[in-house]
Symmetry: none
DNA sequence: ATCTAATCGAGACGGTACGTCGCGTCTTAAT
DNA sequence: ATTAAGACGCGACGTACCGTCTCGATTAGAT
């Protein structure tokens, strides 16, 4: 598939690509998203500015490519026979992702940018990291539920809490998991 | 309040202040938050750039001052004896606010910026519009509940749904209201 | 005339203007016209790049402003009762101008650029330094002659010799002056 | 000459060479010397950029190679028994060359560049097109004169007139020829 | 018929200047 | 003291051309 015709021409430099992705990650942590510039990325990566522009249009695109894989991995929890444990593990992962993770910081920055940049919004819409990972959990613990609605109920409270700048310590994954399960499948109470 | 020590000198121009607030609102709708600049605001307001900088530091500050009052008003719903109606009205107002309202667009832009700009985050933390209005509803329908937790459950799902770029039409305030009330007071089910 | 309305606004910085003109002159001597850049001029002048662009469009414009006055001065010779002396002094000044003068180097660079840049050609056409100074001499030694034709005969040979890269030492102002006068006014021979 | 040591290897592509020379000529007429770039030449010639650089260092070199032959041909006039006719024909050819000829446009551009690029100056010095052709005329009409001085007197006035951007229509080859002959051999006046 | 070696196309790469834009500060004169 | 006007230093923007560098594919003459 990606082995498209490369008839002629110098091949893309993999070191350059890797250096840019690393640089963008490093800069996010060091100076923050706002102070991150295409120029700064190129310089830190030791790469020509033109080379950056050749492959990516905006810093958002680079950051997305640099963090999407990590994000998906961090939010993918192993199945657990106990639904409560399963959901709790996921919400703990989400809590870590949104508050302490490197990839999560990238995601928050991008989601922020998406609120006033349609191009970034489209970028995020193309790969629904939170939705996909949440849906995986929902399929396991409540296969018959409306997946979209369940996703909103699962992610929403913590997402709001953290994105609106509230103290992350004051929200409890286990409590949210219990509440979620009680709602999504009222018959099989966990708090029995 | 602001009648402090202004002995002598030309007083602040109220028309200029109003023109700036109006201009920032107009620009948000016309060109979006990202393309909005201090220069553009000053020019549209017919005011010197210096004058803008004298009273506000950033476009975020101006936008916040221009929209906070409207936002609070739009999210304040009249009490209703029926808790379900009360909550539903609030969620409908929130839905309108986050998707169609002028002030809501400003809020989303600011919240987006807050993800990667501590100054904006501090600005929003100073006046918790969503939290305050939600707490008012919670106090009425579930005075004994944990207000913070209840707020997260009330606002979270819709907040996530819309901020993450999902189709606003596919989320139902009434359904969320019912779910919320069930979660907040499991004994008095509304779905009977 | 140039005291146009400057109602309001910070006045143009004269130090900045002078620094740019000085820098362009310095750079011409040090690195040559080709290697001279707007960026380099601004940096050497200790002035913002924007400030340079605000007042001049091209390096040619700056160079012209920086050298036109000097050029005119260098090519203006005091009248002499003896026509031969008068013309010889002018041709000596022209020789110096085209081969050793600072302002002359600027002129040559601009005239070179004018061969393939209409904007520079127009710039030079606006102030005919060589033509004007030559005409002054012609008016004195041959007031009845066709001034344009006489100018071409006076300046042409030396102009060609030097501009085409020939050895400046092998051309003699006095000889050219004698030939010129013999042609322009055959009645009053100088070689008599 | 170029049949040096080419044991083995693919021979130089003559079509590529011709295409480049043609392209450079075409570009000079279409976009002018300044806007002409190595990249543009290669693309118009349908040739790789590398191929251009392999055989020429600068656009000046290509242009010179592309136009020198034509230039010499255009400036070579057939001998005429009448010196006045001979010189007039040459000056007419020079007038056409400097104002309307393709090759002349190339020469002017190169001479312009030579004023601030030593490499181009050296290039032109290597083949003195104007000097050589003028000397041929001088040898015929005034074999005993100082050839260099005569060349300057012959070419100078028209050269200056046109290169300094004056109206080409206002200079008369026949008049200049008459003047030149009078200067070069004062004893045998043409105006009798 | 193979080998050898310089060519050619394509195009990525590190540089560097371009001219523009917004920033936040400043210096005027006018109110 | 505040205002409008606008110049200023700063620094990033995205583009263009520079000249160099891989690549794989040609293309002859020499073996």
């Amino acid at each position: 598939m990606s082995q498209g015709r490369d008839r002629g021409g110098r091949p893309r430099s993999e070191p350059a690509r890797a250096a840019v992705l690393w640089a963008v990650d490093d800069l996010l942590a060091k100076v923050g998203y706002a102070a991150m510039t295409m120029k700064g990325i190129a310089e830190l990566a030791g790469v020509s500015r033109m080379t950056v522009y050749r492959w990516w249009s905006t810093k958002a695109e680079i950051l997305f490519e640099a963090s999407a894989l990590d994000a998906e991995e961090e939010l993918t929890v192993p199945p657990d026979d106990d639904p409560f444990e399963d959901v709790t593990r996921y919400l703990e992962a989400l809590h870590y992702f949104l508050t302490r993770s490197h990839a999560g910081a990238a995601y928050r920055a991008l989601l922020g940018e998406a609120q006033h940049d349609p191009a970034v919004a489209a970028l995020l819409a193309g790969r629904d990291i939170l939705g996909d990972t949440a849906r995986a959990v929902v399929s396991r613990v409540a296969p018959d539920a409306d997946h979209d609605r369940a996703t909103a109920l699962l992610i929403g409270p913590m997402f709001f809490w953290i994105l609106s700048g509230r103290d992350p310590a004051r929200i409890d994954p286990a409590d949210l998991a219990r509440t979620f399960l009680a709602q999504i499948s009222p018959d099989s109470r966990v708090d029995g």
